[in-house]
């Protein structure tokens, strides 16, 4: 049986070209990029070339690109880097939202234990944080606002440009955007929206290798390093450069950004097709808006109220379809989705959500097949439904 991988929000199949690049670089350029000898210098040149390439793909300057080990590290570095910078004479204040990825949400909780004041903003029924709530939450000691660009469970796009604009009135407040799910799916206006100070990305979400990511950092912004070490990345991130990963990421990013408009079109078409198919199955409810203005194209979120989602996941898997319950990072806990709860959905619906996310290798036939297998699965599970209370 042919299997279908529909979990692109969790991780994507890498570009074949990138797989080759990473392999070749592992074989040929194993020298440490900070070594003095020629081999090291060659490696260093490749890292810098990758930095230029990443910068170019994102409309940033090369000196604004920091390489990290991925989205989680980028988010940690952004939050802790800003909030720990300059010592802890005054307790600083952080504003973030209730729908952030755990690498921001749990970091905020951890920072609270370190004495950082934290405000966690709600979202409305459409899953968006309100810019006026952000403004209202600002205190004299607010150092950082962190809002994700695209939500990882629902694909809902946050009003980051409006927030950036209103934050212009508060020059002491830095603005971090977690763009992990946005890169290559929605336009990033780093060059024109100057109010965004930090922006996180992760290579394996855009068909690059795992274990590598980036943090864009506006010139002049001080970050306290999470990892002290050999002074790499301008002293802001110690550790030997992951050369194959870094170059592989720069290549994947170029490929993904160059093709973004076409891919967006394709993915939106698949999204519409899938939503129409879900509508045909009365047991399922849609957790995302249809309006394409509000969302990123790669994901659909739905619930089967009265059915534990992992049952659905494993049933679908028997039919060769791989999807997620809420986010991959929280799926092992059986708690209801924090994101859907925040959107005002009931516990039953929030506990039974399924995330289907697709990518470049899918076409209408694949989504048709997915819909067919989804229908079949629901039919099999129907007799086992718990009563809808």
């Amino acid at each position: 049986m042919r299997t279908f991988y529909f979990d692109h929000c969790a991780s994507t199949p890498p570009y074949e070209q990138v797989v080759q690049t990473v392999g070749e670089l592992m074989r040929l350029h194993y020298a440490n990029a900070t070594a003095l000898h020629r081999s090291g210098q060659e490696a260093a040149k490749l890292v810098e070339r990758a930095r230029q390439s990443v910068a170019q793909s994102l409309g940033a300057k090369p000196e604004e690109v920091l390489f990290t080990s991925g989205g989680t590290e980028s988010n940690n570095l952004a939050l802790k880097g800003i909030l720990f910078a300059g010592g802890r004479r005054v307790p600083k204040h952080l504003i973030t939202t209730s729908i952030e990825h755990s690498s921001v949400y749990n970091t905020a909780k951890q920072l609270e234990r370190f004495g950082i004041e934290t405000t966690i903003l709600p979202v409305d029924r459409t899953g968006r944080v309100s810019p006026s709530d952000v403004e209202a939450a600002i205190r004299p000691n607010t150092s950082l606002v962190s809002v994700m660009h695209v939500n990882n469970e629902t694909g809902i796009v946050q009003p980051i440009e409006e927030i950036a604009e209103l934050l212009a009135a508060f020059p002491q407040v830095r603005f971090h955007v977690d763009g992990v799910q946005a890169v290559g799916k929605v336009p990033i206006r780093w060059a024109s929206v100057k109010g965004i100070d930090l922006y996180s990305g992760s290579a394996h979400k855009f068909r690059g290798p795992k274990g590598v990511g980036f943090l864009l950092r506006r010139e002049g912004i001080e970050l306290d390093p999470l990892q002290e070490g050999g002074g790499q990345e301008e002293g802001m991130r110690g550790g030997t450069h992951n050369l194959p990963g870094i170059v592989g990421m720069s290549q994947a990013l170029r490929l993904t950004m160059e093709s973004m408009e076409t891919r967006r079109g394709n993915m939106f078409a698949l999204r519409r097709q899938l939503i129409d198919a879900i509508r045909e199955i009365p047991e399922l409810v849609l957790n995302v808006p249809e309006d394409e203005e509000l969302v990123s194209p790669q994901v659909v979120n739905l619930s089967y109220p009265g059915m534990r989602p992992e049952v659905l996941v494993h049933m679908l898997e028997k039919h060769g379809v791989y999807v997620s319950t809420q986010s991959a990072c929280s799926s092992k806990s059986l708690k209801p989705s924090r994101v859907l709860l925040a959107m005002g959905m009931g516990e039953e619906r929030a506990s039974g959500s399924l995330r289907i996310s697709f990518g470049d290798e899918h076409d209408a036939k694949d989504v048709g097949e997915l819909a067919e297998r989804l229908k079949m699965t629901v039919a099999k599970l129907k007799p086992l439904e718990r009563s809808r209370g």
Binding site: T21, L25, E42, R49, A50, S53, S250, Q251
Partner: protein, 409 residues
């Protein structure tokens, strides 16, 4: 005197049809590129001519640039007058007085493109000519062979006057005739050959062979400087630096001492041909001048030239050394060329190099090296370092290894 316009005439007027159009389009592009740094300048196209509007930019600086553009036939600084006769007369006199050398004879030619102008061409000829004569007692009119022809062009928007015709570089706009590789040794001849190739519309990429550590870094620097000087005419020129040490030391041990130069020249051409293929160039340009040295006898040219199949262009082949030097001085490469750093051709030179090499012996010896020679040639191509020179200096220093890294990005 402050000119308002420059009338620019294109060369190669014999071109017809589509070629003509291509020529004019490219010419206009090259003209704009050459004058890019003058921000105020405007252009007005008019039947194979272009009026450059100075808009306050310095005529002398613009003229200096125009003189160097390949494909330009000539240009003239233009004064602009109103339709008022007195203004036209005053400007005419001004132009004549600025002529150097001081002319003894002149004539006036009036073109009345604006037919509503009250005086016809004949009348205007007299009205303007008489005024100039009255105010310049030493001048005479000569309608057949005047020293200066003062042209008056009457247009609806004003009157344009010009007299001087400054010759341009002629030839074709750069790139019109494709691309060639230039063998650049560092001597006097090869930069001149390069300039001549460029004048004829060939884009060039320079190839230089170095035998470091036997040749010095300065020898290479000298060639870099020469390329930079040529880039003055071409905007940007690639220079390929080919490592030649291994090949040269191998040939020095060939046992055919008097043929070393022949072997070397043949090998260099083969490497240049491979680089040409990679760059999409269709010819190789050399500074060979018939009979100048042992490798430039007709017999040597025959044996050396046979090793490649793309055309070998030798712009200097029939020129005398003195004339070549004059060109080198004119294009500004002479001073650099005579700097005393050895290039690889002057190394290991035998006491009596062959002036009449035997093709059969040469080919036999090369066949004996066989695969080894092929391998060494490939290695030299692989190890070639390419830099891009602009008139202001080095643009990129790109190693073959770096170019190979392109596939990872």
């Amino acid at each position: 005197m402050s000119y308002e316009l420059i009338l620019v005439r294109y060369g190669e007027l014999t071109l017809k049809g589509r070629n003509r159009k291509k020529f004019e389009d490219l010419m206009f592009l090259k003209l704009k590129q050459a004058l890019r740094s003058f921000e105020a300048i405007g252009y007005e196209k008019n039947f194979g001519r272009v009026y450059v509007q100075l808009n306050g930019e310095s005529y002398d600086e613009v003229a200096a640039k125009l003189r160097e553009i390949f494909g330009l036939h000539s240009f003239s600084p233009v004064l602009r007058a109103t339709h008022d006769l007195e203004d036209i007369r005053a400007k005419a006199l001004q132009l004549m007085r600025a002529e150097r050398p001081v002319p003894r004879t002149f004539k006036v030619t009036v073109k009345r493109a604006w037919k509503e102008y009250p005086h016809d061409s004949q009348e205007m000829n007299h009205l303007v000519g008489a005024h100039v004569l009255r105010n310049s007692p030493e001048l005479k009119v000569d309608v057949r062979q005047p020293d200066v022809e003062l042209k008056v062009d009457i247009q609806p928007q004003g009157v344009f006057l010009y007299s001087t015709m400054i010759p341009g570089a002629g030839g074709f706009p750069l790139g019109m005739n494709g691309k060639a590789m230039l063998m650049l040794s560092g001597g006097i001849d090869s930069p001149v050959a390069g300039w001549m190739a460029m004048r004829k519309g060939l884009e060039i990429e320079a190839v230089h062979f170095h035998s470091y550590p036997f040749t010095s870094e300065q020898a290479t620097e000298k060639v870099i400087t020469l390329t930079q000087k040529l880039a003055h005419y071409g905007g940007k020129i690639k220079l390929h630096l080919v490592p030649f040490t291994d090949l040269q030391t191998r040939m020095a041990q060939s046992g055919h001492d008097h043929l070393i130069i022949t072997f070397m020249r043949r090998t260099m051409l083969r490497i240049a041909e491979k680089l040409a293929e990679r760059s999409g160039a269709l010819a190789i340009v050399t500074g060979d001048s018939l009979g100048q040295v042992a490798s430039q006898t007709l017999s040597s040219m025959n044996v050396i030239g046979r090793t490649i199949s793309i055309p070998l262009l030798r712009p200097l082949v029939m020129m005398d050394k003195q004339d070549i030097i004059r060109y080198a001085e004119k294009i500004g490469t002479y001073e650099t060329s005579i700097l005393p750093f050895e290039d690889c051709c002057t190394l290991f030179v035998p006491k009596s190099p062959a002036t009449n090499p035997n093709l059969r012996i040469v080919e036999k010896a090369e066949a004996e090296w066989g695969e080894e020679l092929e391998r060494m040639i490939d290695e030299a191509v692989q190890g070639t370092e390419t830099i891009v020179m602009t008139p202001n200096g080095r643009l990129v220093r790109k190693k073959e290894a770096e170019a190979a890294a392109d596939r990872w990005f």
